[in-house]
């Protein structure tokens, strides 16, 4: 399959090489189970494969069939048709990393535009071309802060309001370093001020989220001031869609902004691929890992773009590089660039407001049911936490019978929150569906 060779081609080629058979080309391999029998299903044609895989896809119940209030870092948004139609252009998706700028200006300019729009959205000075996802972006922020102080500061403070998966990822990344992680066990309902007493002269980074995992929107100005007083850096993790409405984290004085870009037109696709956003201040640009595109000129005087600052990277610095990152999420950065260009200034604001209003309507309706209560008094965007009269797991199971995906059971990630549901509402959910959810909650909580 996918081989253009005819028998005559093969024979002619073997003759040119000077061997008799394909097997002869493998003469250097150790004679241990050479040419093993591979126990895979026999190859199939496109028709057969599509039928088979459609069958597998049909075994899933999708957010198209179920009414989904699941968020927890991944959100059910609409992807405009334009985004996928651009992503499907072979010139974009079958190209490699743009090492040869003369024939890669499409990818390079698209990434440059992506970087620019991330800067506009976050209020920072510079963005890289992306990391793998929100979790690895946060881990790279930890890595960057540690190297910024040349290893002389080893404490990193993680807010309990950072996504549990992101915190787990950071733990995995730093296990063999002398970095100590603190702050995760501060009471989650205490707010960002509770992290201030932990900041000291050994602190490299304070990492928080905006909105945080519980949906809360905090003003981080005081926390940033306290951190900067101790000369520590602050990284704020964002949902970029929320920045269509909310004050950009640059205004709080953040040194690093990380983000999960999935909400910018990228399908949920059962967990990925997504888009790790990473932006920083001018003075830290050279400490930032990952690919960066810069503007320049070609020999004909035309404005063009190249990968720049590559001496920070592994292919030049090898073991002295601060990160091993090589591939980024180029195609997803393109998706975000198309999405943001299309919605633009007014579209993104409209969408953010739509999410805000729907979530607030849902929160009010749910909080008015007997026994249910909004757990966060703080500002929230499109996601909020509800204290329930029953265990969240029990409620979710019952809600499935109403074709509702109820929300994230916070007990899975936080001790003592077994009766807390994290509920997200996006533009994909209508008022009727919210009302259906509220009625279902009434019924299942009384049952």
């Amino acid at each position: 399959m996918f081989l253009p060779h005819t028998d005559a081609d093969r024979e002619a080629m073997l003759r040119t090489i000077g061997v008799d058979s394909l097997e002869d080309l493998f003469c250097d391999l150790p004679d241990v189970n050479l040419f093993p029998e591979i126990n895979l299903p026999p190859g199939m044609t496109e028709i057969e494969v599509l039928e088979e895989i459609q069958h597998i896809a049909d075994a899933n119940e999708t957010t198209g069939e179920l009414i989904s209030f699941l968020g927890a870092g991944v959100y059910n948004h609409y992807t405009p048709a334009v985004v996928d139609s651009i992503l499907r252009r072979g010139e974009f998706y079958t190209a490699y990393t743009p090492y040869q700028p003369e024939i890669s200006q499409g990818t390079l300019q698209a990434i440059f535009e992506y970087q620019s729009m991330i800067v506009a959205l976050t209020g920072m000075d510079a963005s890289n071309a992306s990391h793998y996802d929100g979790a690895t972006a946060v881990a790279e922020a930890v890595n960057m802060a540690y190297h910024n102080f040349r290893g002389k500061r080893s404490k990193v403070i993680l807010s309990p309001g950072l996504h549990p998966h992101y915190r787990e990822t950071v733990h995995t990344y730093v296990v063999d370093s002398d970095i100590q992680l603190e702050g995760e066990d501060t009471p989650f309902d205490a707010g960002p001020e509770a992290l201030i007493p932990l900041i000291d002269e050994n602190t490299a980074l304070v990492s928080v989220a905006y909105p945080d995992f519980f949906g809360r929107v905090f003003d981080y100005t005081k926390l940033v001031e306290a951190a900067h007083e101790a000369k520590a850096l602050v990284a704020i993790h964002v949902n970029p869609l929320a920045l269509g409405l909310l004050t950009p984290p640059g205004e709080f004085g953040a040194d690093i902004v990380t983000g999960e870009g999935q909400s910018l037109g990228i399908p949920m696709a059962f967990g990925g691929p997504y888009l790790g956003i990473f932006a920083t201040k001018d003075k830290y640009v050279r400490k930032m890992a990952g690919r960066i595109v810069g503007e320049t000129q070609d020999t004909r005087g035309q404005r063009g773009f190249v990968l720049t600052l590559s001496t920070r990277e592994q292919h030049i610095r090898r073991e002295r590089a601060t990160s091993n990152i090589c591939t980024n999420q180029g195609l997803l950065a393109l998706a975000a660039a198309v999405y943001l260009s299309l919605l633009g200034k007014n579209g993104l604001r409209q969408l953010a407001e739509l999410n805000y209003h729907k979530a607030h309507y849902a929160a009010q309706q749910i909080a008015s049911i007997d026994g249910f209560e909004l757990a966060n008094s703080e500002t929230f965007f499109n996601e909020f936490t509800i204290r329930c009269p029953k265990s969240a797991a029990e409620l979710n199971e019952a809600l499935l019978h109403y074709d509702v995906l109820g929300g994230y059971d916070l007990g899975k990630s936080y001790k003592g929150l077994d009766d807390h549901l994290l509920i997200a509402v996006t533009e994909m959910i209508s008022k009727e569906e919210i009302d259906h959810f509220v009625n279902a909650l009434k019924e299942v909580s009384n049952a």
């Binding site: 394909l22 080309l25 440059f112 793998y132 035309q302 592994q314 591939t327 607030h360």
Partner: protein, 497 residues
Amino acid sequence: MPDLSTSLKVEPTVFDISSPGRQGHYFPKSDVPQTNLPKGFVREDLPLPEIAEVDVVRHFTRLSQLNHGVDTGFYPLGSCTMKYNPKINEETARLAGFAKLHPLQPTETVQGAIGLMYELQEWLKEISGFTGLSLQPAAGAHGELTGVLIMRAYHKARGDEKRVKMLIPDSAHGTNPASSAMSGLKIVEIPSDSRGNIDMDALCAECDDTLAGIMITNPNTLGLFDENFKEVCDCVHEAGGLIYGDGANFNAIMGISRPADIGVDVLHFNLHKTFSTPHGGGGPGSGPVGVTEELAPFLPGPIAAVLDEGNAEEPPLFGLINPEKSIGRVKAFHGHFGVLVRAYTYMMMLGGEGLKAASEHAVLNANYIQARLRDTFTIPHDRICMHEFVLEGHWDDALDIHALDISKRLMDFGIHPPTNYFPLIVPEALMIEPTETESKETLDVFADTMIKIAEEAHTNPELLQTAPHNTPFGRLDEVKAARELVLCCWFPEDKEE
């Protein structure tokens, strides 16, 4: 604003074509009562571009036309396996039954998706000989980091804390030492011998009780299968070290040799190379990690598993589990699922025999080009190569010509250059990997072009030094980019000033 009048090839940026009041996509009016916007948290301005839908489409379409991709022409970029990306992959990955799944849905609603992950795990294990496998890592370098963390965790779990030395051949990709350094290991570089194999004396001298392991790419980055491989494995294993296999070059050995059978303990796959998922202009990739039985408990979770075998009436029940001594997550959720669907589709199309044929023809194609260019270029390690080979892009009687000039001249003929200046141990290296999906005619055009360029190098060197000529852009000034560091377009308000 830059002067765009000089050329039609320069596409203005999205900020350049923005006009206040335009919008490319609209949302329905809110059907719920309005809530007051959050006091003190509403941003004042949002400096994003404002463009109509048609102009967004034209802008990005025109940008795409400035790119070379596998779909537009030959792409023999060494070590990157730029094979054809089947269109069917793009269809299956976009099926609503996959694209519209939330990663945290109850497992009973996503049995198809977890089942697909399980089967892909089994297939990758079958073709590599490993016992355990995690699909979580997001890319090759991410898989390397995962593998190295697994090796360290394994040694530590045995109470063997002093194993902090990682051996890395001098031909290795830069991610190998960088990944090892990220996990706190001390790197010792091992030279290559005159046949391009690992130097055994240098290797054995480093095999002591501080050895964590060795990271080997085999076939190596010279495109050669290391003839000492078995001895290398024995030497490292005897010292208590582990063998890390960089699967970047797995496309040479599918169905021919299984890494686990010949001594590798842990290996990452590059689904975006070997298993035909697109490179996307630099991602997304996917870097699953396979390991032997003793390392399996350390894999990152979650991993797809059969929780209940099922029976004649009931299908098996799949679930996600965490291995008992797991190093922990290396990213959020369960890996690049959309990429996994593409790789799964590809493996299903080819089957076991098809994968073997893919590797055989990848090696055939590389050897054919090597044979055709042998008389024109210096090939530093002239043996049967695997799926790629390295030649020297210079001649003693044309000293002003460098590998880069050859590369840039190739663009004039619609061919993407090979990998330049890598591996570092070959002067003026050009690393050529044709892949199996290219026809003899394409290979012949490439070989003929290379021979023609070699002639030009001697008769008209300036033609190479000033190349490319037929591309939309000439050589770009990297020094200017690095010194002036413009990383972001102007915002609309800047233009008004």
